[in-house]
C-alpha cells in the first residue's frame, strides 16, 4: 500500500509577493516620470549648469538639428505651428512653452520661434537643457 503526501498548497503566498513587487515597480515608473510626448526626431538638449528644475505642465516645442519642428510630439510646419500655438494660448493664457531645441540646431531656427511666441503673447517661454556638472 502506497501513501502519498498531499502537495503543499503554498502557491498563493508566492503570488502575493510577486504582486507586491510588480505593483511597486509599476507605481515607481508611473510616479518618477512625467508623461510627455516625444518628438518624431532626435532631440538632444544643450548642456547647462545653471538650469532650474522644470515643473510639469505646458506645451513642448521640439526643434531638430535641421530645423524640423514638432509640437507635443506631432511634427508640423511653421504655418501650422503658429495657428496651433495661438489656439493653445487662447485656451490658457498662462501656458508655459518649453522650447526643446537640439544642441546642434542653429539659432536662426530657434530664436525667431522664441520671438514669435513672445509676440504672440506667451509670457513664459523656457529653453530645455540637460543638467551638467560644474566644470
Amino acid at each position: 500500500m502506497k501513501l502519498r503526501r498531499p502537495a503543499p498548497a503554498q502557491h498563493s503566498e508566492t503570488i502575493i509577493a510577486l504582486i507586491d513587487v510588480v505593483l511597486f515597480l509599476l507605481i515607481f515608473f508611473m510616479l518618477i516620470g512625467r508623461m510627455d510626448a516625444t518628438a518624431p526626431f532626435e532631440v538632444s538638449p544643450p548642456l547647462a549648469t545653471t538650469g532650474s528644475d522644470m515643473p510639469a505642465g505646458g506645451a513642448t516645442l521640439a526643434i531638430a538639428a535641421d530645423g524640423a519642428l514638432a509640437l507635443d510630439g506631432q511634427a508640423l510646419d511653421r504655418t501650422t505651428l503658429d495657428s496651433r500655438l495661438a489656439a493653445l494660448l487662447a485656451e490658457d493664457p498662462d501656458l508655459r512653452l518649453r522650447v526643446n531645441a537640439h544642441k546642434a540646431a542653429e539659432l536662426r531656427h530657434v530664436l525667431p520661434l522664441v520671438g514669435a511666441a513672445e509676440a504672440m503673447g506667451f509670457r513664459d517661454v523656457v529653453l530645455v537643457v540637460t543638467p551638467a556638472d560644474q566644470p
Partner: protein
C-alpha cells in the same frame, strides 16, 4: 419512513476572486511603461519672463553699464572686439560686475551659431553673477 437528509455545500478553499488576471494586467502595464518610456533628466532656462516686457527698461536708478557679447557662427564669444574662451569671458564679466554689479549684459548671437554655444555663454554669464542678461537678435526689416 425516509430519514431527513441535509446536504451541506462544501466551503470554498480558494480566494473569492482569482488574482491571476490582476497580475496579468499589472504585468502588461509595467512592461508597457518600461518599453514606451524614455527617462530624461531635464532642466530649464527661462527665455521669456513675465517681467521682461519692454516697460522693464524704464527708470533704473543710477548709471549702469552695458556689455554686449557677440556670438559668432563658430560659437566663439566676442566681448569688446576680443574673442574669448569660457574662462576669459568669465574673468571679463567678473571684472565688469566688480565695478558695476547691476551691469546689463546683452548677447547678440549669430544665426549660424548653435544652441549649445548660446547656452554655454548664458551659463558662463549666470555663473559670473550677471543679473540682467538678455538675448537680442537682429531682424530684417522689409
Amino acid at each position: 419512513m425516509a430519514s431527513k437528509v441535509t446536504l451541506k455545500r462544501r466551503s470554498r478553499n480558494g480566494p473569492l476572486i482569482s488574482l491571476v488576471p490582476m497580475i496579468d494586467v499589472m504585468l502588461i502595464l509595467l512592461v508597457f511603461f518600461m518599453v514606451t518610456s524614455t527617462y530624461l533628466n531635464l532642466d530649464m532656462i527661462p527665455a521669456v519672463r513675465q517681467q521682461d516686457q519692454p516697460a522693464a527698461t524704464a527708470t533704473t536708478p543710477g548709471r549702469t553699464g552695458t556689455a554686449m557679447i557677440r556670438l559668432g557662427a563658430d560659437g566663439v564669444p566676442v566681448l569688446r572686439g576680443q574673442p574669448l574662451d569660457a574662462a576669459g569671458l568669465d574673468r571679463a564679466l567678473r571684472d565688469l560686475l566688480a565695478g558695476e554689479p547691476l551691469a546689463q549684459v546683452l548677447i547678440l548671437p549669430s544665426g549660424g551659431a548653435t544652441t549649445q554655444a548660446l547656452i554655454t555663454v548664458m551659463d558662463v554669464a549666470t555663473r559670473a553673477g550677471v543679473q540682467r542678461l538678455r538675448v537680442i537678435r537682429l531682424e530684417a526689416r522689409p
